[in-house]
Symmetry: C2
Subunit: 177 residues, 2 copies
């Protein structure tokens, strides 16, 4: 799990997302292989709100049980959740976030904040609050060095040290910048 990618699998080998992510060696693609699916985001949302059980996910999200089974399995396989029996006879499981899974929360927050920023405060259906003060949080994605929002045009993507040929080509002179 050091690379953060799905570890095992049955004998079958589908998972187009994984292949695409590695082929592209791009952090965005890798991130998409984790949070690029509706159900995954919705399940994570539930988890961040403290829900842990199959029927809770099913009720909150409203997906079919077979889909939920397969999504949960994928999340466990990829190290985002762990499945744990919390009682025997009958055996009952709970699904809880790993540290790795918790690390995804800022992405969800950024997405929710993006949408809420388009709405007047009184039109927001879900908000982030500071339990210390009770006040609504206004999240921002910033550069930790300067504190500036990353939407500032001075910040641009470019090839990193481990860039492959495709990535280098992408950032060679010639794009519209």
């Amino acid at each position: 799990m050091s690379t953060g990618v799905r570890s095992n699998e049955s004998q079958e080998e589908p998972v187009s997302a994984r292949v695409r992510a590695e082929d592209r060696e791009c952090p965005l693609s890798t991130a998409m292989s984790y949070v690029g699916e509706w159900w995954t985001i919705l399940i994570l949302h539930d988890c961040f709100d403290g829900y842990t059980r199959f029927d809770q996910f099913e009720a909150n999200i409203g997906l079919s049980s077979s889909m939920l089974t397969s999504r949960l399995k994928a999340l466990v396989d990829s190290g985002v959740l762990v499945k744990r029996a919390y009682q025997e006879r009958p055996v009952r499981h709970e699904y809880v976030l790993t540290d790795f899974g918790r690390s995804l929360r800022p992405i969800l927050v950024a997405m929710a904040a993006w949408r809420n920023a388009q709405l007047a405060p009184e039109d927001r259906a879900m908000i982030l609050v500071d339990t210390g003060t009770g006040r609504e949080v206004e999240p921002a994605v910033i550069d930790t060095a300067t504190g500036l929002p990353v939407s500032d045009p001075r910040f641009v993507f470019t090839a990193g040290p481990a860039a492959g040929e495709q990535m280098l080509e992408r950032y060679r002179r010639g794009n519209g910048r």
Copy 2:
């Protein structure tokens, strides 16, 4: 476009994502209807890097031309891109980000930052840099009031003023918190 949701459409009415987003009245779902697809993220990435043309997207992303056509159309319909002829005879178009489209960039940055944080600096294939200083940016999602990262457990989601029954139910006493 004030609500940021797709405006028009041909006579046909597919777009399952839109329906789901509105039904759920959840900012995460709405965000997912915009950035929940691989191709959309990849196209946006290209746009943020200054690419504007059909063949550039095709070469960088490697998707089929028919898919690219339909993804671009969706992005134009949803107000993320505008299609503009930059020359006549033969007519050639470019696709450029609207302000609304540009507002999505922090989400992409948060995703890339999430992945890069798992890698040693020398293992990163793509990074964000400050063109002022030339240094790599370490982005963070923070609360603008306190400056604390939103990963801090004091920050939690809860129902907002416009929460509907489903959202209220979700945050009533009873989840695992």
